[in-house]
Assembly symmetry: C2
Homo-oligomer: 707 residues x 2
């Protein structure tokens, strides 16, 4: 396969950004409520930072008891990180001095750059130039900074930093600050985020770099991403591959699933939001778990920290309300998850522990013995958790029952301490009572709704399956970046050119020829057998409408067909230049029509869309997509993913189609696209698909390339 | 249309159940923590009950300072309600005495009836007999009771009653108690449930009766239902019609959307859970807003209490975080809702109030002026709320920002006080800070996630549209109950019988005749034109496989065809009784195939399924359903609802199909089914559907009736 447009990704080492030994605060201030004061306080007072802090401010001799330096150049050493909070016009000089001095990173909190105006865009470009020239890496600008809550250290001006210091195994990469803070505040559930980057304009370092870093950090088990727009989609995909290699799930929420969201996110972050369908395709392909809202992101991440899934886990539902048991089991079923069958030993333990009127098959309804006999409740829960068939225990708690809830939460904790499978509480009440607090404290962060539980467990299982499949050898491949931004002027290949290009690339396609005389036409038709004939003219697009197409022509008949087509064309569009009549063999009757398209996504480069034609696409949107390159196993997956796949494999006694040839064609098209960097888009439609052994054939192809 | 199997519903007057003047507690007790003590306390101490309370207990002279009676018979008057908490074996006598005395209602909290064992089932049947004989209506047994929080009065043993007394405009009907309590506890958001029934085994009164009552109660604006299983589906539908007539939305969650849930709910409530598809059909048809989880039920109900929708409302998004603005706008778009365009006046007010770097088109991002300039934040919000194009303002609040959040919540309240459109906060943080409490207190119950907001607003708008459409004259019609439970032994009509029955009912169907000789065959074929011929034998099912079918036969050719079919049949199944050869006209080529089915749902009676045949059903499940009767406008709706509807209305230059004739056929099939109470199921497949003017024709029909 062609290698020209591949680009290996080299990710920066961010160890000293997240765990610096020395930090300078440019714009440090004693002034209460100033940004420079907040930033200093967060490092000096609210962090447990053992390194050296240098305040920089030409107007002050000392800040918070530390000697203050007039500028970066006069610092006694090249610090790991400068945190920049001076006004925008003063930022460039500070970063330039830091770069020249050999500092590692500039965390620029200041706003007023590319998100604001032309001056800001130019200034940001100058920062990038400094970074490239001196090697200093830039975080921001226009951001609240970053936090390492596992130290803890906050390189941020946020006054909320001190209230949300909970260490933990989740890494979080966002762009804006508000929604990240929202997720961090799920720490009331007892779940902590060890690292949080919130990288604003991302003129240099971007979400992909933080994902890659978190993949290396041994304290981080799972990575959450909230993405408003991508700077470099392929870089993100490569970072996700790295996380997968390290066995760390990435959970993603992408803003811009609707036109409103895409527009708003673009104006907020000045990033490319791209197509939601392509984004979802890439997420799925790279094993990124896509979620629907912020709480779902936290829920899924939280579940991964409890245990990494095998994908084969069966569920036990353990409740003390019949309604909660039913509704929880219902949600298990809705998600397509499986309830475990208890072993005879478990059944006996349950029968011994619970009263006869309790629900003892799965789901379990202990009834009110959770209140009257907490020991029996605990023993029954332990029986569930010990069952060899159970991979996850769900414990829905529908209401806040005051101290009774606290006792039950304690039972969950006690049983979990001795159990190897995760016991997952669902605190369903909006009232966060003492039981909720007890669960949080016990390291059993509760889900908050059955719907969220269902979605999270489904995604957890699916990740296990994805990982298992990946372990068997599937590789997502290297990413073709293609060109980004506005394409150059384009040209559409003629039908003859296009089909010759496909044929040269090994894609089965009809081989048309152009007849300019009736004699030509007869000669060509005689060689081809039964043919289709159509007028060739740049000025005539709707060929059928003007009588410019004849189908099923054979041999001598081509002469009359040629004359008729030319006459019809001349009559319909007298001014048109007629280049002749295209003649090509007709495909055998009874083929099924498929299509293969390639587009160049502005974020993720070349992406293939495949499906069956007509109704299936237009009414049922029955298509499947992949980033290129598409390998043979991927092509087979794509074919199998169609809802209408049965039409290919033999529906209602219809013959099986030539799926092998179709898969070959998909791979060849992928190869062709990868080898054609100037390809803007192509659409092979229809692909005639014969029965087994008959092969496939591109009957029409529109190929658009950069000029 | 036939009327025989219609049944008008007469609903009981439950005024004195929810607002009794006199209550007796059967099993009242002084004993701390006993059920009888809780029940007494809830009425005497925790309610504001101005009526008379009679404790009944033969072992005590006085309970809580009130004179105690030895039994119901000795009470000085016929009370409105007896609350029964004595053990199951003592329940029947108390209810019998109450019935004979002329008491109105028995609220039976005691368990151990049909949910437990055969004795309990028999005892429950005896209670029903007492109710029918004496007129006393029974609530329960096996339930936590009912509460009227608008008084407040709690006829319940729940120790949680006293902690959840928030009056409000939502009525709630559940069966079990735990999940109902879950919803009641959303009162921490500042939203109250005025009435809550939780009716357990429902041996007499059932959810439908409570919905009907809540539809009459002037203090109730919206009704929530959580249904584990139906006792009488048609009664429920009729109650929902009544709520719609009163302009009150019903919001429903049905357990049993999966096999696990259906099985669990059935064992929990001993009700019929029915088919999830049919349930959703009925909900949609009756305007019941179906939700996916308990919090969604509360969210949707809450939004209805804010304002009844027109269905045309456009949305403003007002945030002080760029990310929240984007993600909220994204959710608006995902839900297919519309962002409002601001008027020039609003644009000017926003420009005057906000800094130039704020996001001033919709969605609004005030930036941090929400903290630095709360007055400007308030003025900008007022500008949004005053805009004539805005029907709803969404205010996402992504994080708990301590006192700043409290100030912003105060601004929301101040602007809402002067505004006519609802201002809807989304408190997205899991941390329920002071701002959350302030919103709750201000009567602005917050949503808790953007996803839930999106779903609730979509359902709110959809209800407005449903109501508007309903106002234009559409009527859901009367419900055909059909038989319930196990059907009697059944019989399948022969093809000739079936088609004659359809034709007699005005359903266009081929009119087959049976030829027993070659001469017959020729005579029949000559009269019909081009015909299809097939063997008729009870012993031969796969007719084509044995050469028992001939298509496209004309005139004299029928003689040879007859001989060949008979010979083939004889050769293939020598022992078969051959009744002759069925001959019927062939439908013209090129028709589209549709199908119409009727099934008798155990909960909702006769339900029609309609769709296009083959692939569309099997791969894409592209069908639509209605409870019978289907009127002509409903039939047109059904046709239009198919994803593949375009195939009927002219896809890609294909001719338009005879939609009018298809709609007529649907109505005639509905009429036929309604007139055939013994109909167990029917499947007309295919319905040949010609081009406009060509009509339609039932080509095959399987009709199963009770013997």
């Amino acid at each position: 396969m062609p290698k020209d447009n591949y680009e290996p990704y080299v990710f920066p080492d961010l160890t000293r950004l997240f765990a610096p030994r020395t930090v300078a605060v440019i714009g440090a201030s004693e002034k209460e409520h100033s940004i420079g004061n907040h930033a200093m306080r967060n490092i000096v007072q609210h962090s447990a930072f053992a390194g050296t802090v240098y305040p920089v401010n030409p107007k002050q001799a000392e800040v918070m008891g530390l000697r203050c330096y007039p500028d970066v150049a006069s610092l006694p050493e090249a610090v790991d990180v400068i945190v920049v909070v001076v006004p925008a016009p003063a930022v460039r000089a500070a970063v330039e001095q830091a770069g020249e001095k050999g500092c590692g990173f500039a965390v620029i909190l200041t706003s007023g750059f590319s998100e604001a105006d032309d001056w800001g865009r130019a200034e940001e470009a100058a920062l990038v130039e400094i970074s490239q020239r001196t090697g200093i890496r830039i975080y921001g600008p226009n951001c609240p900074g970053l936090v390492n809550l596992n130290l803890p250290l906050g390189l941020t001006f946020s006054p909320a930093f001190k209230d949300d210091i909970t260490p933990g195994p989740i890494g979080l990469a966002t762009q804006g600050g508000g929604l990240g803070r929202n997720m961090i505040q799920h720490n009331v559930r007892g779940i902590g985020f060890g690292l949080w980057s919130s990288s604003g304009n991302e003129c240099d370092l971007q979400v992909a770099d933080f994902v890659h870093h978190m993949a290396q950090d041994p304290e981080i088990k799972v990575i959450g991403c909230l993405i408003e727009g991508f700077k470099d989609g392929a870089r993100f995909a490569a970072a996700c591959q790295e996380a997968a290699r390290k066995g760390k799930p990435v959970v993603g929420l992408k803003v811009g699933r609707s036109a409103y969201g895409a527009r708003a996110a673009q104006s907020h972050t000045a990033s490319i939001t791209g197509s939601a369908e392509v984004n979802s395709t890439v997420f799925r392909q790279m094993g990124v778990v896509e979620v629907d809202d912020l709480d779902e992101l936290v829920d899924v991440a939280m579940l991964f920290t409890r245990k990494m899934p095998e994908g084969t886990e069966k569920i036990a539902v353990f409740a003390s309300s019949g309604g909660a048991a039913s509704l929880c089991a219902d949600n298990v079923g809705i998600a397509g998850l499986e309830l475990a069958e208890f072993t005879p030993e478990t059944a006996k333990r349950l029968a011994d522990a619970l009263p006869p009127y309790a629900g003892m098959s799965n789901p379990i309804d202990t009834t009110s013995i959770s209140i009257s006999h907490p020991d029996a409740y605990r023993e029954a829960l332990a029986a569930c958790a010990d069952d060899a068939n159970v991979g996850l225990v769900l414990a829905p708690l529908p209401m806040d029952y005051g101290t009774y809830s606290v006792v039950n939460a304690g039972s969950l904790k006690a049983v979990q301490d001795a159990a190897s499978v995760p016991i997952v509480p669902i605190w369903m009440s909006e009232r966060q009572g003492g039981g909720y607090a007890k669960l949080a404290e016990a390291g059993l962060p509760p889900f908050r709704s059955l719907r969220n539980m269902r979605k999270a467990v489904r995604r957890w299982i699916d990740y296990g399956l994805w990982r298992a499949a990946r372990d068997t050898g599937w590789q997502p491949g290297i990413i073709a970046t293609g060109s980004q931004g506005d394409p150059d002027p384009t040209r559409t290949l003629s039908e003859v050119e296009g089909k010759r290009a496909l044929a040269a690339a090994g894609v089965p396609a009809t081989a048309p020829e152009i007849a300019t005389t009736a004699e030509d036409a007869v000669r060509i038709a005689q060689a081809m057998g039964t043919v289709a004939m159509k007028i060739v003219s740049a000025q005539i697009t709707h060929k059928s409408d003007i009588g410019g197409v004849k189908l099923g022509v054979t041999g001598d008949g081509a002469a009359a067909a040629f004359a008729e087509i030319m006459a019809n064309a001349r009559a319909a569009v007298p001014s048109a230049t007629l280049d002749g009549v295209l003649i090509e063999p007709m495909a055998p009757a009874g083929g099924l029509e498929a299509f293969v398209g390639i587009l160049r996504d502005p974020v993720f480069g070349q992406v293939m869309t495949f499906g069956l034609g007509g109704i299936y696409v237009e009414m049922f949107a029955d298509v499947t997509r992949r980033m290129l390159p598409v390998t043979r196993p991927m092509a087979e997956e794509m074919i199998g993913e169609l809802k209408s796949a049965k039409l290919l494999t033999g529906y209602r006694g219809q013959p099986k189609r030539d799926v092998a040839a179709l898969a070959d064609l998909i791979v060849k098209v992928s190869d062709y696209a990868m080898a054609t960097p100037g390809l803007v888009e192509m659409d092979i439609n229809p692909v005639w698909t014969g029965t087994e052994g008959q092969g496939v054939m591109a009957l029409d192809a529109v190929i658009v390339v950069e000029e």
